[in-house]
C-alpha cells in the first residue's frame, strides 16, 4: 500500500501516524507541505533517515520546486506527477492528512 502524507512534519503528527500503521517496506510519498520533511540539513533529517530504514520515501518534485526545496536528503526519491501516477499503478493508496 502507498501512503500519501501532505502535512508539514513540523506542525502535524500525520507522518508519525503513517509510519506507525504502514507496513514495513511500503512506499511513502510526501506531497504538499510534507515535502519540507525531505529537506536535508534540518532538525528532522535524522528522523527521516530513521524512517527510510523501514520505508521507501518519495517526494513530489512539483511541490519541492514550489517551495524551493532543492537540497533533498540523499535516498529520498523525487517523482513528478507522472511518477506519482506510476506509484498508484503499482500500489493501492491511502492518505494521512
Amino acid at each position: 500500500m502507498l501512503h500519501l502524507v501532505n502535512r508539514s512534519p513540523y506542525v502535524s503528527t500525520s507522518l508519525d501516524s503513517c509510519v506507525k500503521f504502514a507496513k514495513k517496506g511500503s512506499p511513502i510519498l510526501l506531497i504538499e507541505d510534507a515535502v519540507y520533511g525531505a529537506m536535508a540539513g534540518t532538525a528532522l533529517e535524522k528522523k527521516m533517515e530513521s524512517i527510510m530504514k523501514d520505508f521507501t520515501v518519495y517526494a513530489l518534485k512539483e511541490d519541492l520546486l514550489a517551495r524551493g526545496v532543492t537540497n533533498v536528503i540523499a535516498g529520498i526519491k523525487e517523482v513528478d506527477y507522472t511518477g506519482f501516477v506510476e506509484l498508484i499503478e503499482e500500489h493501492k493508496p491511502t492518505t494521512w492528512t
Binding site: 513540523y10 507541505d33 529537506m39 534540518t42 518534485k61 512539483e62 511541490d63 514550489a66 517551495r67 513528478d80
Partner: protein
C-alpha cells in the same frame, strides 16, 4: 483615534499547502496605507513563506513570494524571523528573500507583549 496602533502580523503557516500566509500578506499590504505601527514576524512554518528559490510553475499555483519583497515600499520595515524556527528548518538569513531581522524567542515574546493587536496567519 488619534493614537497609532501597534499591530503584529504573525505568520506561522507554510506557503502553498495552505493560503493563510498569502492572504495574510494581502492584509499587510493594505495595512501599510493606514500609517500604523506594523510588525511582521515569521515563526514556525511561517519562515518558509520568505524562503528563496520558490518556483511554483510546475505545481500550477500562483507564486506570491515576490510580493513580500515590496513590503519595504509600503513603509513596513519591522520584519522579524524566529532564529529557532529557522535553524530547525535548516535555514539561515541568506536563504530569505527579505531582510528580516533574526531574533531569539525572548525578543519575540517581548515584541508580542508590546502590541495592541496580534493577528495570526
Amino acid at each position: 483615534m488619534s493614537d497609532i496602533s501597534k499591530i503584529m502580523i504573525m505568520m506561522r503557516k507554510a506557503p502553498y499547502g495552505t493560503i493563510y500566509s498569502f492572504e495574510g500578506l494581502e492584509s499587510v499590504l493594505i495595512m501599510g496605507a493606514y500609517e500604523q505601527d506594523i510588525t511582521i514576524i515569521f515563526v514556525d512554518d511561517g519562515v518558509y513563506s520568505i524562503k528563496k528559490g520558490m518556483d511554483t510553475s510546475a505545481a500550477g499555483i500562483k507564486d506570491f513570494s515576490p510580493t513580500f519583497r515590496v513590503l519595504e515600499m509600503y513603509d513596513i520595515e519591522k520584519l522579524y524571523v524566529d532564529k529557532e524556527s529557522m535553524e530547525a528548518r535548516g535555514l539561515t538569513a541568506d536563504d530569505l528573500i527579505v531582510g528580516a531581522e533574526v531574533v531569539d524567542t525572548e525578543t519575540i515574546t517581548k515584541l508580542m507583549e508590546e502590541q495592541d493587536v496580534v493577528l495570526p496567519f
